[in-house]
Amino acid sequence: MLTSATRFYRRGELARRLALFYAAQSIAGAFGGLLAFGVFRITANSLPPWKYLFAIEGSLTTAFSFFAFWYLPYSAAKCSFLTEEEKKVAYRRIQIDSSSVVDEPFNFREAVKILKHPTSWVILAIEICLGVPLQSVSLFLPVIIKRLGYSTVKTNLYTVAPNVSGAVMLLILAFSSDLTRLRFPFIAAGFLFTFTGFVIYAAVDVTTQLHVAYFACFSKLEVIAHALYTVLT
């Protein structure tokens, strides 16, 4: 899946760096919650408060896309921040690392070949098992927490903590997984914890056992993100 030549990173270097992206997803949840917490306190009547949220987030996204278009280099050889000597090193280390050709052209028949490997299908199945809880938590966390009976403004503030703790836990676990060079125990434990989180939330009466339910939200998030990271690397 992640084979072929490396544009910036060697394969062994990528693992920990990918954890950052899974953390980014949790941080986005935290940031979104915090922003919503602030924006929903706007009491101007011209627009409903949630429209300000989309307006702010949409403008930030669009603005940043222009910067990214201008800033991102096409490949390591085109990085203006590398000296000529460094560019050579960047290119050479990728050649050593990789089994396939740099800048190979796209070939549809070659691309479909991956479907013949049984491993691809196993990874696909794992991805689906991860994707369902991950996406549902990231999409529904505010709604889930709202059900615990907080006000609109407070609800969004309360989504921040599970997301932040999720991101921090993810990075800690990712580094320890790299350190121990073990994947399976981490993946299995990840699924187990996620399962526990969901079961707790389903089993308790959320209106009376508020703290238990809120705790369940924490364990759900942390682990899913982490498991996802481990599987991919």
Binding site: L2, T6, R7, F8, Y9, R17, F21, A23, A24, Q25, I27, A28, G29, F31, G32, G33, L35, A36, P48, P49, W50, L53, F54, E57, G58, S59, T61, T62, A63, F64, S65, F66, A68, F69, L72, P73, Y74, S75, A77, C79, F81, E86, K88, V89, A90, Y91, R92, R93, Q95, I96, D103, F106, S138, L139, F140, L141, P142, V143, T152, T159
Partner: protein, 161 residues
């Protein structure tokens, strides 16, 4: 015409690359100090930008949940399963467009395709400000799903391929 310029760019790349490979095949040793410096430069100049882009990608799809805790449902007169449909519909184009965006990414380079996709889902998010009913938000979510698909695979591809 666009294709011609692209071809030129490709040949240029090849020339550059053969420059680098000259004499380097025999001599495969790399100065570890220099290599560390290169990796650290990637870590500080490329990685944060990509992480921020991915953060916005994630934010723009999950902010519907935040909006729901406000007056979204009442303002758009949503009934029954309408909200769940809006959440779910995102993933239909998200899956369907992914292979095509993946191919585009490979062809024109993720450094171009990723920002363009980001611009598109930024505009989709902005367009939600003008939405008045279920149909409008449905369309916006559909287009959002289209422009956000294959983002993460392309980010990985950009760094590794």
């Amino acid at each position: 015409m666009g294709k011609d310029t692209k071809l030129n760019q490709d040949t240029q790349d090849v020339v550059e690359i053969s420059d680098y490979s000259e004499g380097s095949i025999q001599d495969m040793t790399i100065d570890p100090v220099l290599e560390n410096r290169v990796v650290r430069k990637f870590d500080t100049r490329i990685l944060p930008i990509l992480a921020i882009m991915y953060l916005f990608n994630s934010l723009d799809k999950s902010n519907l949940g935040n909006a729901k805790t406000s007056t979204l449902v009442a303002d758009l007169h949503l009934k029954g399963d309408d909200y769940n449909t809006l959440v779910a519909i995102f993933f239909v184009p998200y899956v369907l467009t992914a292979p095509f965006l993946g191919i585009l990414g490979k062809k024109y380079g993720p450094s171009r395709v990723l920002p363009v996709m980001m611009f598109c889902f930024g505009v989709c998010t902005l367009s939600i400000v003008g939405v008045h009913n279920f149909g409008g938000l449905f369309a916006a979510r559909w287009l959002l799903g289209m422009s956000e698909s294959a983002f993460f695979p392309l980010v990985i591809y950009y760094q590794t391929t």
